[in-house]
Each structure stands twice: as C-alpha cells, then as structure tokens.
C-alpha cells in the first residue's frame, strides 16, 4: 500500500514524529517530521542520519505563532532539506499548542503561492479543514486531541465530516495515545496518522512503533472491508427456524 501527498510518497499510513526520540535507528518509517532550529557546532546531523536510514524528512514549522514566522521556518526547511513539502504548524499559544486557524489559512495561501506543498496541521474542525484546502493545502492534518496528550480521537464525528468533505488526503496528527486510536483513525477514513509521543515515550519505542504499524494496517483493511452498521438491539446470528422443542 502506498499513499501520495503532493510529491511525498509514503510506504505506510504511519508518519513518524521524531520529537523526543531517544534513538531513531531501530524505528521503521518512510517519512518522519523534523523541526528547524539553530545549528550547533559538533551536534550530530539528523539530516545525515535520516538520509542513511532512507527516511524522507518532513520539515515542520514548530515554534511559529504567526503566518510570517511559519513562512520563514518553511523557507529554512526547504533550503536545509531540499524538499518542497512542509508540515505547517502555527499555534495560538504555548500552553494549549492548539492550531491558530486564521494564521494557518494565511500561511497556507502564502506558502502555496511560493510553491510549497503544504500539509496543514489543524483543529478537528471541518470548516477550517475546508478553508485550508481552499487555500491550497495538499493535505489536512486534524488533531485527534492536544499534542502529547495521548487522549485519542476526541471528536470522531468531526473527523468523519472532515474526511467526507476533503478531496485531499487527511492525516490525523497529535493526540494518538495507543494503537487502537490509530486503527480508529483509519477506520473512520483518515488516510494516515502521524505519531510521535505515543511511540517515543513508550517503555519500548521499537515495539510500540511495530504495534502502531500493525494498527494502521488493520484500520486501513477494516475501512476497505466496510464496518457493519451500529444498531440499538441485538440481532441473532443463529437461525430462529428449526429450533427443537427444548421444553421437555
């Protein structure tokens, strides 16, 4: 199975966030997010490590609070990493780390005009997702719940509405706590998930990464297979005809 977002090609519906990783060598992913920060002499090169592992870096704009800050970080990422795509993040404040929809739409317009392929991190709001798509986003990345919270998908109906309204890929980002959350995202129709904390802060990150990979595969298969409808009452799966007389 492969998924294409702009010119970004994913072998699996699991994108890895590298934040907080103790080691990356033994974790398999085809795409991983990176942040842009000041160069420190002597620090080991994440760029070279990802290149050696064959992992495509997806630069983010973490740290941006305005569209203009996000545009500068995106330009730095494109120059440093040589890729046209960017995971756009603009947060309203550092306490909630929730996306600022107004600045996100502005930044998406500006970056799209500069030739970027924008994957826009957003709230789980179908209207904002529609505005971001209209502004040129090549993917929308609604949060499951606040970054690092591990609370899972708090608003499944909104996620379904985003999936139904979007004509670009939907990647559930932030708040995934367990493989069951990742599976549910795919079952609800998301194309991929981005997971960082749930893997990196797990007791055994490599094992959790494997569990997440299996979960997204299960969710994807279940989506294609078609879930049965929910109904309020029991529905017998054994025939009611031909039951022998049991009142003896």
């Amino acid at each position: 199975m492969s998924l294409t977002i702009g010119s970004l090609s994913l072998d699996s519906p699991l994108i890895l966030g590298t934040g907080g990783a103790r080691r990356l060598d033994d974790i398999e992913a085809s795409v991983a997010t990176v942040a842009l920060r000041r160069y420190r002499p002597g620090a080991s090169s994440l760029y070279e490590l990802l290149a050696r592992l064959g992992v495509t870096p997806l630069p983010n704009t973490a740290g941006a609070h305005t569209a203009s800050e996000a545009v500068l970080l995106a330009e730095l990422g494109r120059e440093a990493l040589g890729v046209p795509f960017v995971k756009l993040e603009v947060v309203i404040d550092d306490r909630s780390l929730l996306p600022d929809p107004v600045e996100l739409v502005r930044a998406t317009e500006q970056l799209s005009a500069r030739g970027f392929e924008v994957l826009a991190y957003t709230n789980d709001d179908p209207a904002t997702a529609a505005l971001l798509e209209r502004a040129g986003a090549v993917a929308v990345m609604p949060l499951a719940s606040p970054i690092g919270s591990g609370l899972g998908i708090q608003n499944p109906r909104n996620l379904v509405a985003i999936v139904e309204g979007a004509s670009v890929p939907v990647v559930v980002d932030a708040g995934i706590g367990a493989p069951s959350d990742a599976a549910l995202a795919l079952e609800l129709g998301a194309d991929a998930v981005l997971v960082a904390s749930a893997i990196m802060r797990a007791h055994d990150p490599a094992a959790m990464a494997q569990a997440m990979a299996l979960a997204v595969e299960a969710g994807r298969l279940a989506r294609a297979a078609g879930r049965i409808p929910r109904q309020p009452l029991a529905l017998a799966s054994s025939p009611t005809e031909g039951l022998p007389n049991l009142s003896i």
Partner: protein
Amino acid sequence: MSRVTLNGEPREVHAADLAALASELALPERGVAIARNGEVVPRSRWHETPLHDGDAIELVTAVQGGAL
C-alpha cells in the same frame, strides 16, 4: 572583519560573504540553511551575498521534532 550577530550572539568574523562564512565556521556540506536579516539565502547565492557590520545571521539545521 565584520561584526555580526550569529544565532543571537555578537561575533566578529573574517568572512566577506556567506560562502566564506560557511568555510570559516566549518558548516556541513548539506542539511543547513542560512537566513540573513530575516531572508533565507539559497546555498547557490552564498558566494555573492556579502556580509556587513550589523547583519543578523541565523544558521539553521534539522533537529528532532514533531507532534510532541
């Protein structure tokens, strides 16, 4: 010699342009970007971008991050 601000710290550098600055600082061949006074300068233009007193230079690279 120019007095510039390098990643937020005042510093005197010998380099006359960004390419020379990259050599002076022994920057890696790839994986880094330079912004001069708030504008990203592509590596292909480093040699033709002079350094002046008072320039604010940001040297940036990829670090671990994302969905923390």
